[in-house]
Amino acid sequence: MDEKIVFCKGGGCTAKLGAAALSRVLELLPKGPPDPNLLIGYDSKDDAAVYKLTDDLAYVQTLDFFPPMVDDPYTFGKIAATNALSDIYAMGGTVTTALNIVCFPESWDLNILGEIMRGGSEKVIEAGGTLAGGHSIADDSVKYGLSVTGIVHPDRIYPNNQGKPGDKLILTKRLGVGIICTANRVGEASAEAMDKAIDSMTTLNKYAAEQCHKYDIHACTDVTGFSLLGHLHEMMDGRLSCVLHADQIPLFPEALAYADEFLLTAAAQRNRNHVGKFVRFDGVPFAMEEVLFDPQTSGGLLIALSGDQAPGLLADLQAIGLPAQIIGEITQRQNPEILVSQH
């Protein structure tokens, strides 16, 4: 396709606004009277909003869209949809309906748009949901994503901040897709690395979430633009701390190699500026630090559950082919909030 080069300008979750800038704007918004049925809203920095309808039914609402991070429109559509659907799973919900969000240049070949939406639509179907409509805008660059609605039992919501000291932390996907896509953009990523990254970014978190439903999950979030450390910082909620074992963390080895070549995103540096002060690295190589700050597009679930239950969930996740690992544990609050040791 002729538009290949124009199509991909460093998108995905690397295109997210920085957390520091965003929180300053959000703090200033006027707040209406609180609605007791809004179980999870702005205040909790969670993955999606949850609204209780009855004692045994709540709906989960989220939206996510971004510019392309890969050259192929169909693949981009799949990644964007997988990423948008993920927030429902991170809340413990199941997907019901989705609406397309599209920005597309008027002068472009509509077949490209068709390919993007075909990719998105396939993922909604795989998620067990129905595509119910959408909205499109003529714009000078492509953006695509979904507004997704799901349902959840109000007692079985996965908050992102209710971990407990002693909990194990499980990560269900490999880190490093941000660095690999960035390297790809400047022609320095291998085809194999890119294929593995795409494979990961198009894997629905549905499958990981289904295994979680068999266990007592204390906290869950999906790792996206704010990087593993950024999302962990939110999970610690100013009350908890954690220790990570860098050599246990699933990642793409190519990401380390590209980080050593300094193929780094602006977003990773913004993440470092935002959460670096809460983190202490103990014998961790520079490239690994960068992977831990790397913004993930359609990353995996980060789960906190008791040390008794963690081995069972880990075995179940690995049995369905996910590269999940126990990457660390939650402790009482201490300084630093996040300690990353190499072993």
Partner: protein
């Protein structure tokens, strides 16, 4: 010396262009890279530090930064001579390196209650300035201002969110039994404090 124009380039392009220029040098030399944002300055600085190159950065205008790397031999910092009119910026980007040293929970001598109110108001007014200091140092009685129960936490967090470095003396926290009560910024030590004070262009002591 090779000049690299990476204005308008998104990360990692400035790093990629600079690396190519360093390769072209085929030995010791200087590479100057122009970029239009501070994040690119920080990513270039990270690379230079990892590679052991001398590095300095200057803010030429609000949207133009120059990162100078010295590859091999003398580090770039040391050739910072008097004809260099532009001032150094830290990776977080402040034209002048202003350090505010807060040595007491109160401002001025006289009535303690008044002094406490003045200090709160000083930190608030500081957070509202267009040009912010690079660093706030808290030591001795000042250490109580960054810890639990301080009336200035919100203003200090706002300063921190705007990129101001906030450091509290660890010995002082320890002395006052506040080590686990720190609410904003990082713990620092005397070497760091001496370095910050001696590296400052301007020290403000309210």
């Amino acid at each position: 010396m090779i000049q690299v124009n990476a204005m308008g380039d998104a990360c990692p392009i400035p790093v990629v262009k600079t690396k190519n220029a360093i390769k072209e040098l085929k030995g010791p030399g200087v590479v100057e890279t122009l970029v239009d944002n501070e994040i690119a300055v920080q990513n270039l600085t990270k690379m230079a530090n990892q590679k052991g190159y001398g590095v300095k950065s200057e803010k030429l205008s609000p949207q133009q930064f120059k990162v100078t790397m010295q590859i091999g031999d003398a580090p770039a910092q040391e050739e910072d001579s008097q004809e260099d009119e532009t001032c150094l910026v830290t990776p977080t980007g402040h034209k002048k390196r202003t350090v505010v040293a807060i040595t007491s929970a109160r401002m001025g001598t006289g009535n303690d209650e008044l002094g406490t109110a003045l200090m709160k108001s000083f930190i608030f007014a500081l957070s509202q300035q267009d040009e912010l200091p690079a660093t706030l140092l808290f030591y001795n009685g000042g250490a109580t201002l960054t810890t639990e129960g301080s009336a200035s936490l919100e203003d200090l967090k706002s300063l921190e969110a705007q990129g101001v470095e906030i450091l509290t003396c660890g010995t002082c926290l320890n002395y006052y039994g506040l080590t686990d009560k720190l609410q904003v910024g990082d713990v620092s030590n005397m070497y760091d404090i001496v370095e910050k004070l001696s590296g400052a262009d301007l020290i403000i002591r309210p």
